[in-house]
């Protein structure tokens, strides 16, 4: 059993004390984590080092220090490991003169698939591009281009799928379709690693997160568990009611409430004692004749976890 939340049992992808620097700039600093079957979100603001980490994972760039193993092999030197690896890069990476079908077939052929045309058709169908398969990818919208890249990453049926901001440029329907596709892959036992700086996206896809900030591993594990571990940071709670000022004034007298922000329909509370606040709020509402419509923690969203991680540095 592993003890660190950044590590998993039976990993398919391992990152061991990896650092990468470009001249004087440190892009990734001493990161150790691992990924196994299931979906893991790689989270961090733009420039945090996510793309550099993913490019090291795929072998596109070498770590300055440490090692990266995909199914026990170093992908950069063992090209056979690419049979088990599919990668969707953030940048375009498309041959604009090829049709969708030709492009995905090309990927299948280079990956050694026995019937490349049929595999390409199936992959395009999986991402919902069958109707546009015979159009040149140069004329595709950004969302279609993203889906084409996903199709080519899936065409050889890899066990490990690494996706760098795969939902960029997709509309809500496409996004929902891709998210359900990634989740379906994890149900088949695949290892899926998705990077994103859009917090809600990751939150919709998975509970397991590796958070990177300034090139360092800032947090790992279950989103709620990460939040609970930050005991020195006040909890944020939102309360919606009809008499916000009355209830806000009453709450300020309660020990453990650090601040109250009032607007027309809601109160935003910072407290060190979430359980205590929960136990007194009903009584306060009755005493002051306030009608409560919502009482919810704001902190267990990825947004707040992320804000803390970034703000703490």
């Amino acid at each position: 059993m592993t003890t660190s939340p950044a590590l998993v049992d039976n990993p398919t992808v391992e990152i061991n004390a990896v650092s990468k620097w470009f001249g004087q700039k440190v892009a990734v600093s001493d990161v150790t984590c691992s990924f196994g079957p299931g979906l893991t979100g790689l989270l961090g603001p733009n420039g945090a080092g996510k793309t550099t980490l993913l490019r090291m994972l795929t072998g596109l760039i070498r770590p300055s220090q440490g090692e990266v193993l995909v199914k026990g092999q170093e992908p950069r030197t063992q090209v056979d490991s690419y049979k088990e690896l599919g990668f969707v890069p953030e940048e375009s990476a498309l041959y604009n003169m090829l049709t969708g079908q030709e492009y995905v077939t090309y990927g299948a052929r280079l990956s050694g698939v026995s019937d490349p045309e049929r595999a390409a058709k199936a992959a395009l169908e999986e991402v919902g591009l069958t109707a546009d398969a015979d159009r040149p990818v140069g004329g595709f919208s950004k969302g279609m281009r993203q889906r084409t890249k996903v199709a080519v990453a899936l065409v050889h049926n890899p066990e490990i799928l690494i996706l760098d901001e795969p939902l960029n440029g997709t509309d809500p329907v496409q996004r929902a379709h891709l998210i359900s596709l990634f989740q379906a892959l994890t149900e088949r036992g695949n290892t899926v690693i998705v990077s994103s700086h859009v917090l809600q996206e990751v939150e919709r896809m998975t509970d397991r997160v590796i958070a990177i900030v300034d090139g360092k591993l800032a947090a790992a594990g279950d989103i709620a568990a990460i939040r609970r571990a930050m005991s020195d940071i006040p909890y944020r709670v939102v309360i919606e009611c009809d008499k916000t000022r009355t209830l806000g004034a009453a709450l300020l007298d309660h020990e453990g409430v650090f601040s109250v922000t009032v607007d027309e329909r809601s109160l935003h509370i910072e407290t060190s004692d979430l359980a205590g606040l929960g136990s007194i709020i009903a009584g306060l509402a009755v005493t002051h004749d306030v009608r409560l419509s919502r009482f919810a923690p704001e902190d267990e969203s990825l947004e707040s976890v992320f804000r803390y991680l970034v703000g703490g540095r």
Binding site: S81, Y82, Y95, G107, L110
Partner: protein, 260 residues
């Protein structure tokens, strides 16, 4: 279809776009046009009887060595061969290519082969046109095959240099032009050791080895320098260069980081 052929085919489609093919095709034919105009001009300005085969040969030699082999062939090959990997980098498709279970040497070989075949498809058109026009004026077709073989060897040698250059340098065309005009044609004309490694001179030496003796006799001093004329030696040099180039590309792809 093997990975090699698949890469070759897609590379040709990626780099040999219609406008580029037409433009470079016209450039390739320009030596033949110039030859035609010069020959017609010489005929008009002199007594027709005086325009003999020797004058036709002199113009052919000047066009072949002074224009086609040392300007047109390198420029066409430079543009095509540097884009074979340069376009992959520009289009951010390198990651697509290298994240496949195929050896980097296969990628390198396919890329160098594509650079050579595409370039030769264009330079061969000009070589053939110039050779045939000259043959019609000189009443002998003995120069057509040497012309094609020499062009193939020069194109292959240039491809071997320019394919890796296109990946290593963002301004590969500029650096390539500097190499052709300053290093090869400037310094190479004066320093025999430099001339010995000049691709167009290797091509001309193959032509000189296969063409009638008159070709070698009349060849200007700067043309092949200290190189021994002969198609076999020239072809061997070109093959070694191609092999070295494919190995170098494979090695570069294995060693260098793909930042994007």
């Amino acid at each position: 279809m093997s990975a090699f052929l698949a890469i070759l085919r897609v590379t040709v489609r990626q780099t040999l776009r219609l406008k580029r093919a037409i433009g470079l095709g016209l450039l390739s034919l320009s030596a033949a046009f110039t030859y035609l105009l010069t020959a017609l001009g010489s005929t008009a300005s002199s007594n027709t009887a005086e325009f003999n085969q020797e004058q036709a040969f002199d113009i052919f030699l000047g066009m072949t060595v002074g224009t086609f082999m040392n300007i047109i062939v390198p420029v066409i090959t430079l543009i095509i061969a540097t884009s074979v990997l340069g376009d992959e980098r520009r289009d951010n498709t390198m990651s697509f290519l290298v994240l496949r279970p195929i050896s980097r040497f296969t990628i390198g070989t396919a890329k160098v082969a594509a650079g050579f075949l595409e370039s030769f498809a264009l330079t061969a058109v000009g070589a053939l046109a110039l050779g045939i026009l000259a043959a019609m004026r000189m009443d002998t077709y003995e120069y057509v095959v040497p012309m094609l073989v020499g062009t193939a060897i020069a194109t292959a040698s240039y491809s071997a240099i320019f394919v890796p250059l296109g990946y290593l340098l963002k301004r590969a065309t500029l650096i390539g032009l500097t190499y052709v005009f300053i290093w090869e044609n400037g310094i190479g004309a004066a320093v025999p050791a430099v001339a010995g490694l000049s691709p167009w001179r290797i091509g001309v030496s193959a032509m000189a080895g296969m063409a009638p003796d008159q070709f070698l006799r009349e060849l200007p001093e700067f043309a092949i320098g200290s190189i021994t004329p002969g198609a076999g030696g020239a072809a061997a040099k070109a093959l070694v260069l191609l092999l070295l180039s494919a190995t170098a590309v494979g090695s570069i792809l294995r060693r260098r980081d793909l930042a994007n």
